[in-house]
Symmetry: C2
Subunit: 104 residues, 2 copies
Amino acid sequence: MTATLVPVFAALGDETRWSILAALGEGDASASALAGRLPVTRQAIAKHLAVLQEVGLVEPVRVGREVRYRVIGSQLSATAHRLDAIGAEWDRRLAAIKQIAEGL
Amino acid sequence: MTATLVPVFAALGDETRWSILAALGEGDASASALAGRLPVTRQAIAKHLAVLQEVGLVEPVRVGREVRYRVIGSQLSATAHRLDAIGAEWDRRLAAIKQIAEGL
DNA sequence: GTTTGCTGCAACCCGATAGTTGCAGATCTA
DNA sequence: TAGATCTGCAACTATCGGGTTGCAGCAAAC
């Protein structure tokens, strides 16, 4: 269902990919259309879109002869919640360790 | 204050780094100590710790002649919340676009 | 004061990946 | 049918990053 967490972060760890996501945020667009707005080649964008699709952050939609891509915001939210849970767990555990260390 | 978002994700996009974070979750440890538990060299771990420190996910603590590292869970939570906000914003905007597209 | 153990720096290797150009195939339009 | 566009595949380059080994420096222990 949801992709494993780490590859999602790897996908999000690239500026160009965020530019693409930002551009897609203003409406679905094809790789060619995005190439007009961003300072990289269509093929480079196509590769990035493949990566984003792989981890479920984006989804292709055929419209005639072109392939538009749409951002899946819920995947972003899901990832955020999993990360938040981990962060909270860490704080909890570290607090426990700290108490032990303080001799309580 | 909080590091820019993208480098944090880049830091979280590596399995070994998660192993290190997980190991640190059971208590602060030095690079040498971690090298005993993980299947990589001390220097490799040192590099990873430098990356993690750079983005504020981890914090060094001198203890005598060794340098222990501690996870900063709150940074993880902060990142999660920023990501969640972005995801929600995206969903909101895309819903609006969808309504427009449906002629409403 | 010598030995032990931990840190830090530098050079190096290699695989992954961001980016490019070029071309072939498919599809809409005139 | 011909021409214009958009996609997809392949080859190639170059940089980055994860990992290694080796060595020098320094703090603790004995």
